[in-house]
């Protein structure tokens, strides 16, 4: 299988499309599509000196803003139609991206022991192993 990613947005005037808001929710949501984040979630987020609190489906959430390591950013891609054949080439379009996101824990203050923080360690390690 080969993957092709097309970026029709690279000359776009608005840089905002690559600076969208994103939330990492500590829960598996079996859905793939638009979500009313600005109406159902964000009005209820409160910020107490960087310690964020929110609520999802009645569950209390504690959050913090996170950025990616230097030189990294997130890109969102979409696929118009998945080809039927397993080995066919797949085409993705860049739909936008984000430079920071809000990381949420369920009823637990975010800390350096969180999986997300630990996972991002790899970027520094890989730099040391594979870098020039």
């Amino acid at each position: 299988m080969s993957i092709q990613v097309e970026n029709n947005l690279k000359n776009a005037d608005n840089t905002e499309i690559f600076e969208q808001k994103a939330h990492y929710i500590p829960c598996k949501i079996e859905d793939d599509g638009p979500a009313n984040v600005d109406k159902y979630f964000e009005p209820y987020v409160t910020d107490n000196n960087g310690e964020l609190s929110g609520s999802f489906r009645g569950y209390p959430l504690d959050g913090t803003k996170m950025t990616f390591p230097e030189g990294y950013r997130a890109v969102v891609v979409t696929e118009a139609k998945r080809p039927l054949a397993e080995d066919a080439e797949r085409k993705f379009q860049v739909a936008g991206g984000f430079k920071e996101f809000t990381y949420w824990n369920w009823d637990k203050k975010p800390s350096k022991n969180d999986n997300m923080v630990k996972a991002l360690d790899w970027i520094d390690i890989s730099e040391a192993i594979h870098g020039d």
Binding site: P26, C27, I29, A35, N36, R57, G58, D107, A119, W122
Partner: protein, 314 residues
Amino acid sequence: MTIKSLQELKDFIKSKDNVRNFINCSDVPDICKTEPCMLGVDEAGRGPVLGPMVYGIAYCPVDQTKILHTLGCADSKALTEEKRDDIFTKMLSEEESLNNVGWVAEVISPNYISNSMYRRAKHSLNEVSMNSAIGLIKKAAESGANITEVYVDTVGPPEKYQAKLAEIFPNYKITVAKKADSIYPIVSAASIVAKVTRDHALKVWQFLEGLEMSHTEFGSGYPGDPLTKKFIRDQIDNVFGYPMLVRFSWSTAEHMLQERAATCTFEEVDDQGATKKPKKSISSFFAKPDEEKARKRSHKFFEERHLTVSNPFE
């Protein structure tokens, strides 16, 4: 600021944040600072799936209880909504009541209730209730009321509750009873404070979710109310479930979301709130070790960081 009418009560509630608890209280009548006082505690809106639960207290001098009869404080459930509004209006505006009867109400938001019941270490509705009642009694005493007797309405077994309150307030004569609001007029007064506050909180509820809907459309909030049933069935957001008016932790809401919204799975925890480790099945001890799998096990570094090689496009 002390409110003086039901309109001011509405404005006050409206000025508050829907998802946070808040307290509304009268001034402490001067006579209550010197004379020994009795205090009643009751709640409104414990059962509904919609809207806040409200705890209310009322207090007055032990030898001034006739004012409660003059006001018409009796079993609040036997009173009509108009009658309750009428009594509370008198408590807010009439000289004789203002000079003798003080009150405090705490509005406990539906979101606070859901969040408490869905904590890692769950807080039951009973704990939420008891904490509110204790907080309100303390508040009355701290603001200068000379409390000597406390009467509390309860739906659960009175003995345990009574023992707990007696431990916290050793100097008060404490009575916890079922149906206390129909026995003790001071509890009826507390019940009216709570019920009128809850009714008005629903009347002025504003949906930050953008729903244009009034309380006449979502009903009383009791799961049996046809309007409430319809609301719970129809006002579902596939991802977020419900607007914050709803108590997510009520089984009525839980079941409806299981059926009609995207499935959401949170980490499984035990009673103390610790993450559950997946258990090995008995048969796994007898099966031949999967050599292929064992060989492919990644380094501890990756395991600890939950990193695996995978293809998100699969």
